[in-house]
Subunit: 470 residues, 2 copies
């Protein structure tokens, strides 16, 4: 519970209606989309503008109160679980698209803007914001930036980081800084912009962003390639890239996932296939047509038993929409769904999927795998029950092995979900002890009182709050 004087200070800044600390509110902000992580905050605070954010941060810094900046809470790494209590900062009053600049191809937004609204605003003027994380219909851009969200178009178009040109940040000391700008080139000092992308809210609060837009691709085509075995699908992926074609989307689904998605979406997916690739190309009409033809041939050459090209836009939309439902579809099957995102170099996908299968079998677990084959970003998803402690112990062992295997193959413990609380115990596998030490020293330098989202990414270095009563 916040001390009375702290509570009053916060109310003086944001107004009484924007500080909530009744039980219902605290419960609502005690968890995000990650199974098995929950902790009550001391209050929810909703500042109305950057100056209020700065003032709130100053109060929290003075009283050593943890701040958990939270978008829509769609993250899958327990990145916004208020594990150390404190306040959850939400951005419901900061939802403005401030500007679309068609000459410089940028969009400037407040951090509470929904990702989908950015895509749509760009589309309305013939421009394109490519990052499309699975949760884009409800996720907020501040969260996307803090988690460096990926999505289905990472292979060809990159991730959120590649579209952030500038940020407005409230530092942990409450000062506001601007980084970057509407600039394709800017090397004035350290790249704070990219340091804050993916920093998971541990280094400050992002209040505004300048994002890069690109011309909308002229046209798009979608196909499915069906396989009797996984290796053939992986070899097709390699063959496509080896032929110097970079598709806009190159998704992999295993049979279990296809079956579950079909049960859910009922659009006639090929449940008889052991592995399916969903492939999309966009660009100029001639190029797309030529690429799709080549891709179809390469898939057949690599033992696809069928290649189905979507005949209409609606059909294509249905296919990608179905792929996007994978997580929702899988979560219907068992009480608890644990979605992971171990990532490997593209050439190691077959090895990784095979290893996941072996690990699942070893621990007798149900793990379905789908993901972004084009960029090696897999989503092994375990269907389990958090109440079954015995099984959960096995799940943890299995995932630890999966992470180790990914790193062994030259990969990483997380491709697009972030570290949060969930991968904190594994970060050393990828970063190494000295790398971890370097990261911690940056954290300590910028947030000496450890108020910013403590308990995420690594253990907090200090946490004696003077503003909260236990």
């Amino acid at each position: 519970m916040l001390k009375r004087d702290v509570r009053e200070k916060l109310i003086a800044i944001v107004g009484e209606e924007n500080v909530e600390d009744n039980n219902a509110s605290l419960l609502a902000y005690s968890y995000d989309s990650t199974a098995r992580y929950q902790a009550l905050p001391d209050a929810m605070v909703a500042p109305r503008n950057k100056h209020e954010v700065a003032a709130v941060v100053k109060v929290c810094n003075e009283h050593r109160i943890p701040i958990v900046p939270r978008g829509s809470g769609t993250n899958l790494c327990a990145g916004t679980t208020p594990s150390e209590g404190g306040i959850v900062l939400i951005f419901k009053h900061m939802r403005k698209i401030l500007e679309i600049d068609e000459e410089n191809l940028t969009i400037t937004v407040q951090s509470g803007v929904y990702t989908k609204d950015i895509l749509e605003a760009a589309q309305q003027v013939g421009l394109f914001y490519p990052p499309d994380p699975g949760s884009m219909h409800i996720s907020q851009i501040g969260g996307n930036i803090s988690e460096n969200s990926g999505g289905l178009r990472g292979l060809k178009y990159g991730v959120t980081r590649d579209y952030v040109l500038g940020l407005e940040i409230v530092l942990p000391n409450g000062e506001i800084i601007q980084t970057g700008g509407k600039l394709a080139k800017d090397v004035a000092g350290y790249d704070l912009t990219r340091l804050y992308v993916g920093a998971e809210g541990t280094l400050g609060v992002i209040t505004e962003a300048i994002l890069k837009l690109i011309p909308q691709p002229e046209t798009k085509q979608t196909m499915l390639a069906l396989y009797h075995d996984l290796e053939a699908a992986a070899e097709s992926v390699s063959a496509i890239i080896a032929n110097r074609i970079i598709p806009a989307t190159l998704e992999f689904l295993d049979q279990a996932t296809v079956q579950v998605v079909e049960d859910y979406a009922k659009i006639g997916l090929p449940t008889e296939a052991k592995a399916v690739l969903l492939i999309e190309q966009d660009g100029a009409a001639e190029v797309v047509a030529r690429d799709m033809e080549k891709i179809a041939t390469l898939c057949r050459d690599n033992r696809a038993f069928d290649v189905q090209v979507a005949q209409t836009n609606e059909e294509a939309e249905q296919l990608t929409a179905a792929r996007r439902t994978a997580l929702s579809a899988l979560s219907r099957l068992k009480p608890t769904t644990i979605l992971e995102d171990a990532t490997v170099p593209r050439s190691k996908i077959a090895k990784m999927v095979k290893a996941i299968g072996e690990i699942a079998e070893k621990y007798q677990l149900t793990i379905c795998t789908f993901g972004h084959a084009g960029d090696g970003n897999l989503h092994p998803t375990c269907l389990t029950d958090a109440r079954n402690e015995q099984e959960i112990e096995l799940v943890e062992k299995a995932f630890a092995e999966i992470f180790e295997k990914a790193v062994e193959l030259g990969g990483t413990i997380t491709g697009e979900h972030g570290v949060g609380m969930m991968k904190l115990p594994y970060l050393h596998l990828k970063a190494g002890e000295h790398g971890l030490e370097a990261m911690r020293s940056i954290k300590k330098a910028l947030d000496p009182n450890a108020i910013m989202n403590p308990g995420k990414m690594f253990d907090p270095h200090t946490k004696q709050s003077t503003g909260v009563e236990k």
Copy 2:
């Protein structure tokens, strides 16, 4: 001069032949490509591998000896001038291309590899490494990464940062870390990779890099558009982008530059034009043909009095090669050439070029302007004489005004050259005091003894060497 015991320790690590401290060597490493900056180091050290780099850094850290990592010294910001003495670290033994991975589209290189060799190695297997800084024929990739070098293809393809997937870094404490990997997606902890890109050697020594390659564009076309006035050229740039075309290259040269380049290259450049755009598009043949036709029409609609399309590859090569000689050509005219790279949002180019002209006139200086119009990265170049103290004072005043104007227009003090010593006094203009403080705190956290390239980017926080005799 290095103390005898330190000198012996260094020789024990790298061998006697790889420590040079005779006067000729010290003089050779006392300056880089930046006019008016010079300082003698205490020694040149050339480690043979990363372990030797690490051992050298440990010795230097112990004795607080400044380390200046240096590629070919082609930077234009006095980024490798050993202003605090110490050792200059060179990479002549670390020039190996370690691997081209055609499946993951990566190239792994040691930091001493020449940029041009990377482009050529990629090209040989039908792949493409887009960053092409002006000095790419002799620059080394370690320097490119440390300066986040840009080039002519920034608009469409981005800068060095966009192609660095992973790094091997020797930290200031002498520990070796690996960041990133052959991964399109990786969010395991802070983005150390991008923090070190553009850190100008102030946070550690880069020893190896994994770079991203992309498929080689099928075809390329080049044209010149000639104008009677600058505004018309700037409006053409805006019109091209407004029509959702992103050319591979979109360069601007003013009349003075065109004349000087023509005097030098003698290829029949249109010296009668007040402003010239050099435009290149690459990609699939149909798309390039269509884009070039549209671009030509847009240029004519925006008052180009002539549009000349290169008829052969040789002719096209000649044009871009001529553009690349701009700096060399200009440097023939006066004893001292000071090349700047104030950068503004693309939409502000006309305003910026006009302001540069007014400032030149105000101070009665010769400033030629050329640069990357597509990304707002201009190179106002002052032809002067460093021995004329009175004029140099005016030059400094003029550039200070140019930087202020750039920032006022939403731009930056440096688009691709870096801060180094040269822009150190101006960094606060772009970063702001709190941003600068955040950067300094990162520097202090990672390099507490201030041994890494001290005196660059910001004033060193401490510099009591115990390993050098004054």
